[in-house]
Structures are given as C-alpha cells and as structure tokens.
C-alpha cells in the first residue's frame, strides 16, 4: 500500500511563480525525502528532512515537516522552466529493516 501521497497530482505555473507540493503519509517516519525525476531519467535526491526537524532549505527549495499531521510540503521559489519534472516524496518508516517508500508524484510544468 502507498505510504506517501502527493498533492496535487499535476501543477502548471508560469516561470517566476512559486510551486508548492504536499505529501501526506500514514505511519510514523524516521525521515522524509524529496526526489525529482525529469522525463525519461532516474530520480535525483533533492532534500532529506528528519522526523525531529520542522523545516529545511536548500537553494530555492524549502521543505517543511509536520509530524502531528503526518504531512510535508515542498516549496520551489522563483520557478524556472528547468524545474519541469515529477516530484516524489519518499518516507522511511519507523520500523527496522524497511526501505524508502515512494509516493506517485506530482508532475510540475513550468512555462516560460
């Protein structure tokens, strides 16, 4: 069963606008990660946030984590056409011997 669910499934914005994607999950986690996938390529790790962290930044990316609501958000500021991709959240649940579980992703289209 899917641990992480991204929302929205698809998002279209103009260059320069901010893009916000959300991820909800079901069980307690050790950490949550965001990945990007360009069409036809492998996934690329963007950022990892641990369960005891609330916010993390990396360049134009800002990730928040609310463990009480079991949700996370990824904000991309000042988006560019090159940000067009699918974005996935992945969780490591709080259970020994388990690996990342990926959601189905949000497809972001940034038009110039």
């Amino acid at each position: 069963s899917q641990q992480g669910e991204e929302d929205p499934q698809a998002l279209s914005i103009q260059e320069g606008e901010n893009a916000t994607m959300n991820c909800s999950y079901k069980t307690s986690i050790n950490n949550l990660q965001w990945y990007r996938q360009n069409s036809g390529r492998g996934l690329v790790h963007l950022i990892l946030i641990r369960s005891n962290e609330r916010e993390k930044h990396s360049g134009r990316l800002r990730v928040t984590l609310d463990t009480s609501k079991k949700s996370s958000s990824l904000l991309i500021t000042a988006s560019r056409a090159a940000d067009t991709a699918s974005y996935f959240c992945a969780t490591v649940i709080n259970q020994a011997g388990t690996a990342l579980i990926f959601g189905k992703g949000t497809t972001l289209s940034v038009s110039s």
Binding site: R41, G42, L43, V92, G97, A99, K104
Partner: protein, 113 residues
C-alpha cells in the same frame, strides 16, 4: 563523478524470453535497490540488498523474478520467463543505508511483446 550505471538501457524481447538487467552501484555504497516504474503503479520497490545480502524481496514476483549480487560491484535482476505485463522501466539505486539518500541509475526500459 560517481554514478550508478545500468545496462542495457533499452531491451525489447518476446514473451517467454529471459531478461537480465545489470547494475553497478556507486563504490562504497553497501545498500542496493531495484525498483520498477509504470504509469499505473508508479515506483515500486522490488528488492534490496545490504552488504550483498538480500533484505527484502517481497515486492518481487518470486516465480519469475530473481535478484542477486554476485559481488559488491554488480547487482542483477533476472526475469524468466518474461511476460508483456513486465514492460516497465527498471531502476537500480544505491546508498549508504536504507535511510539515506539514494542515487538512481538511468534505468532499463523493458518492452516485452
């Protein structure tokens, strides 16, 4: 520039044929993962290894799929016999542990006719 490599990048085969996909993880990574990605199911974890030992292959159809790590530099995923429903992109990824960031290969696009 360390990266995960996968071969072949594309494979077209007929139903019933054996398919072998190979992956070279990043040197020093002791955790290797195999995923399958389709439009319908998204990204599914098939199996993963830690220090070459299989830890979880519950996502893999056991009757036709097998995954091995003959040595630390090679992971293989084999399908025998292949079926049209196996058509997908198969990704290999490696990392320092199950919890750390994973580095993905470019994938093998498999088409079974």
């Amino acid at each position: 520039d360390a990266r995960v490599t996968q071969t072949p990048r594309h494979k077209v085969t007929e139903m019933g044929q054996e398919v072998t996909m190979r992956c070279q993880p990043i040197l020093g990574h002791n955790t290797v993962f195999w995923y399958r990605q389709t439009m319908m199911q998204g990204l599914e974890l098939l199996a993963y290894f830690r220090n070459r030992a299989p830890l979880d292959d519950s996502g893999m159809p056991k009757d036709r799929f097998s995954a091995e790590m003959p040595d630390a530099t090679l992971a293989t995923l084999k399908i025998q016999p292949s079926e049209p429903r196996d058509s997908a992109v198969y990704f290999c990824a490696s990392g320092l542990s199950e919890e750390d960031e994973q580095y993905f290969g470019p994938g093998t696009r498999l088409t079974v006719t």
